[in-house]
């Protein structure tokens, strides 16, 4: 092992400086700890993120199943839930304080820890260096730190399950005064403090990661890899990282102000004359609406931070498995940019009914509905990519196709919600729950799944089992639709979200059956995830050995050795000559031409206007 690297490194030595630096590290004997735990290698860090995210996803999903148990069978006693939750579910019935903690932590964990930290952390780390052709991130140290901050913040968030009064319970948006006043609800005590500490660590982690991703993409692309030759994955990661770096600090400042309001007597978000349980508080001069502006200034870009990377991976996977160039590559890039830009000026669509000036609402109606245009362009381009294609149904491809379907279904309801007048009825109802679960939750999860199935061979040098993957896909998509589609109806009738039970009102009780139906499908969907977990860990050890380029893809990661090496390419980093989407090019014998193949070798297929 040592000697082989030795020879490889001499072969490389003369070429670039950064190789030189890395090779020095390489000569040291790496212990288990420095290799797997405190690793600086971007591929290992990516895997650390993935494993952490899988764990958090299991937690987040279990929380949602507990909620569904309550909503599907309100007042029913489940003895195992009683045993599991102890005083939070005496007699096996979840208490309201615990239901609200479940809602809050489920939302927080899914949005931030799984689909932001987990999804970005895994695939940005794994793919950015491999696809742009560099040996590691701009700053491997910062990268490792970013992971460990993420790890710490996950631990702090989970630790809040073990405090006396329970975890934060003000919803993932933690609107003050509710979140600021422990008198107002039990979860606003220690639980909320831990939430804020955890999120601060999380934001620090996100910023370290983000700066790193951006500088890596800007500075470290291999020879020939101009911006317009980057795969759509890297484009979407790049824009996402910019969104994160610009928006997360705003949430950070909001969180700090909230900490001050809670602990040091300031009144950023707390107005005069608050009376809680007959006690007059002596805060003065703050505004609860200010928090909403600060939160959603992050919160809206956040949903695209979750969604854009999934879109990027789906574009790549669709093209590879349709054996066809992505349709309208440049339009796809411009659409990502447009969505990224617009996502900063639509935040107040979450606040149409918040009491802010209605004229402001009008402005945000306009910008919000504009976002539908680049989204429509992306959808049409994906569909056209499939037109007259030659589709190979890998599990990753199935998930990519499922993504398109979910994105359409969930995206269309956004057009209803974006119109402030229609939103009067729909705001904060199950219509919204259906909308965001489909377009952001389920769709991004599908991106994540697609990514895992597609790049598993690159991560673990093994193949995942196809049959299990397909079963997993079918069970998952059917249960997702059965869970979330009916919720639109509840929302139209006006059933509010964040309700512990629907039994208090005549007008919500007509959905008793429907809620049970939803809960049953949620359980089926949850059970189906066992297939993925099993497949993942089983294949890691027992899977078929991977080949170098199992999907016959064009991007650079498939030119690295099957067994990953530190520095990624044992020899020189390949030079890039063409765009990543030369699939089924007429005149070429095979149906793909990897990016590093020069035009001089493909004379018969070259054409005017080649990228």
């Amino acid at each position: 092992m040592e000697t082989s690297t030795q020879t490889q490194s001499t072969a490389v030595h003369s070429h670039t400086n950064d190789v030189h630096i890395h090779e020095h590290e390489h000569h040291h004997h790496q212990s288990f700890i420095s290799k797997y735990i405190f690793s600086l290698d971007h591929k290992t860090i990516g895997k650390q993120y993935l494993i952490t995210a899988i764990f958090m996803a299991i937690v987040g999903m279990s929380l949602s199943l507990l909620m569904r148990a309550q909503l599907g069978w309100p007042g029913e006693q489940f003895s195992f839930i009683g045993k599991l939750l102890g005083k939070f579910a005496e007699g096996g019935i979840i208490k309201p304080e615990y239901y609200y903690a479940l809602v809050t932590l489920h939302g927080t964990i899914m949005v931030f820890f799984v689909l932001t930290g987990g999804l970005s952390g895994t695939f940005f780390n794994l793919l950015i260096p491999l696809q742009i052709g560099t040996r590691d991130m701009a700053s491997p140290l910062l990268n490792a730190l970013s992971y460990w901050f993420f790890f710490a913040s996950s631990c702090v968030m989970l630790s809040s399950f073990f405090v006396m009064a329970g975890p934060a319970s003000g919803g993932w948006t933690i609107y003050p005064p509710l979140s600021a006043l422990p008198e107002a609800t039990p979860g606003s005590g220690t639980g909320m403090t831990l939430w804020l500490v955890s999120m601060s660590l999380f934001i620090a982690s996100g910023l370290m990661g983000g700066i790193n991703y951006i500088s890596t993409v800007i500075n470290m692309r291999t020879k020939g890899m101009s911006l317009w030759k980057m795969p759509l994955t890297v484009w979407s990661f790049f824009i996402t990282a910019i969104l994160g770096v610009l928006s997360f600090p705003v949430l950070f400042s909001g969180a700090i102000m909230l900490v001050f309001d809670r602990s040091f007597g300031t009144s950023f978000f707390l107005p005069d004359g608050l009376v809680v349980a007959d006690k007059l508080l002596n805060h003065s001069g703050g505004s609860p609406i200010l928090w909403q502006h600060l939160f959603w200034f992050l919160g809206h870009p956040e949903v695209y931070i979750v969604l854009l990377p999934a879109m990027g991976m789906v574009s790549e996977i669709l093209s590879v498995n349709a054996r066809k160039p992505i349709f309208g590559y440049k339009a796809m890039v411009y659409a990502i940019m447009a969505i990224g830009f617009l996502s900063f000026i639509v935040w107040a669509h979450h606040m149409f009914q918040s009491g802010m000036n209605p004229f402001l609402g009008s402005v945000f109606v306009f910008t919000t509905l504009l976002i539908a245009i680049p989204s429509a362009v992306k959808t049409f381009n994906w569909l056209t990519t499939l037109y007259r294609s030659n589709i190979i149904f890998t599990p990753a491809m199935l998930y990519a196709l499922g993504f398109v379907s979910l994105f359409i279904t969930g995206g269309i309801t956004g057009i209803f919600l974006g119109n402030a007048a229609v939103d009067i009825q729909l705001h904060d109802t199950y219509f919204v729950v259906a909308h965001f679960h489909l377009v952001m939750g389920a769709a991004s999860f599908f991106g994540l799944f697609a990514g895992v199935y597609h790049w598993f061979p690159k991560m673990f040098s093994k193949m995942m089992n196809n049959t299990l993957g397909k079963w997993h896909f079918w069970l998952t998509i059917i249960s997702l639709y059965c869970v979330f589609f009916p919720m639109h109806y509840m929302g139209m009738a006006g059933v509010p979200r964040r309700y512990y039970a629907f039994t208090e009102y005549e007008w919500t009780s007509m959905f008793t059956d429907l809620n049970r139906f939803i809960s049953i499908w949620a359980l089926i969907g949850g059970a189906a995830q066992v297939l993925l977990i099993f497949n993942f860990f089983w294949s890691m050890f027992k899977g078929k050995p991977a080949t170098a380029n199992p999907w016959k893809a064009n991007t650079l990661e498939w030119t690295t050795p099957i067994k990953p090496v530190h520095g990624n390419w044992p020899g020189e980093i390949p030079e890039v000559h063409r765009w990543p989407y030369d699939y089924s090019k007429p005149g070429h014998e095979e149906d793909y031409i990897p990016q590093h193949i020069p035009y001089s070798e493909t004379g018969s297929s070259n054409r005017k206007g080649d990228y």
């Binding site: 608050l274 066809k324 509905l369 149904f393 009916p486």
Partner: protein, 352 residues
């Protein structure tokens, strides 16, 4: 590539089944689709909802349909290559511009509606002050003088003076308070909304009214109810009455006849609500209180029943543990009934 064919077909079948199910569910349960509004502006926003539906539904069906169709038509064949079709500027231009035009039109419609709803209330509106607290709603009318007396946070006491009326202010002496809303049909009502502790949301689902109650500021919403509670109740009764099978779905409905068991004991009376089994202190179901259970024991297969209906005020912003049951009744009555109700109220001042 047998496997390809299978997945392509599965995709297509599942997709078409999905589209059919969507429509089937819809026509089986037409009452699930956006129930009709009972306010003037609500009819307008519902219309906008319908327009949006008519625009997006075809887009939904066509795009999903194409997705399933392409997947069905182009599974992998070794003897075939995909089209090399990287772009088509004209096509891309079309599907940028067409959505842009349609959306512009929707935006214009939406903004006009929004501006009307949010315009200042007519001067002759009936004004009701709404004060939200954990977990109750308080309402106040200004009385004969048409002016509200001051309220002060330091006077707020949930049991005696929840909205902190300052009785030193003589304007408050004829103010009337209530825990329920009464409003006259066909007249504009303006709600001035405030909150004592945390954010709540004043939500009248049947009237399409939703406005957050925010501590430290006043928000408002005005509307014009089109149907009295009694008429609406009658309407719902008429449209939902029928012979219904005795099963779970009966819970919460109203029986239209008196049903007795073999011994002549009444199971449910005419006009009585069909209730679930209650629980005793140990949490065990008391089977003898379950109407559905008793009906089926008595061998009754079908009964005449209908849905009950009451307008309701619900809280739509998470405000703490009692959020899900922070309700209040709202009754729409005729002008005469309203005047009568009003004349029967005693101002709080006189209790002092």
């Amino acid at each position: 590539m047998k496997n390809s064919r299978l997945n392509a077909t599965l995709f297509f079948v599942a997709g078409i089944a999905f589209l059919i199910l969507v429509f089937y569910a819809h026509f089986q349960n037409p009452q699930w689709y956006l129930p009709a509004a009972t306010s003037v502006h609500g009819l307008v926003t519902d219309h906008l909802f319908d327009i949006t539906m008519w625009i997006t539904l075809p887009v939904f069906v066509i795009t999903q349909g194409l997705l399933f169709l392409f997947v069905f038509l182009y599974p992998h064949r070794d003897d075939k290559k995909a089209d090399y079709y990287p772009n088509n500027h004209k096509l891309e231009l079309i599907w940028t511009i067409v959505p842009a035009i349609v959306l512009t039109w929707l935006i214009v419609q939406g903004l006009q509606t929004w501006a009307n709803i949010k315009s200042p209330a007519p001067a002759d509106a009936e004004v009701i002050e709404v004060t939200a607290e954990q977990f109750a709603w308080n309402f106040r009318w200004s009385g004969k003088d048409g002016k509200f007396g001051r309220n002060k946070p330091e006077l707020m006491k949930a049991s005696t003076n929840p909205i902190g009326i300052d009785f030193d202010d003589s304007l408050s002496h004829d103010d009337i308070t209530s825990k329920e809303i009464f409003i006259p049909v066909g007249k504009t009502v303006l709600f001035n909304i405030q909150a004592k502790d945390v954010i709540h949301s004043f939500y009248l689902p049947h009237f399409r009214v939703k406005m957050d109650a925010v501590p430290g500021m006043r928000t408002n919403f005005w509307m014009n109810p089109t149907m009295t509670s009694a008429d609406k109740k009658e309407d719902v009764k008429r449209t939902t009455k029928g012979l219904k099978e005795v099963d779970e779905r009966l819970y919460g409905q109203v029986s239209d006849e008196t049903y007795k068991d073999a011994n002549g004991n009444v199971i449910v009376e005419k006009g009585g609500i069909i209730k679930r089994a209650e629980r005793d202190q140990n949490g065990n179901l008391v089977k003898s209180t379950d109407v559905v259970l008793r009906l089926s024991k008595a061998g009754i297969k079908k009964i005449m029943a209908y849905h009950d209906f009451n307008y309701v005020l619900a809280c739509a912003e998470l405000c703490g543990l009692g959020h899900y049951k922070m309700r209040a009744a709202i009754t729409v009555v005729t002008q005469q009934e309203y005047d009568k109700w009003m004349s029967e109220q005693t101002p709080d001042f006189e209790y002092q």
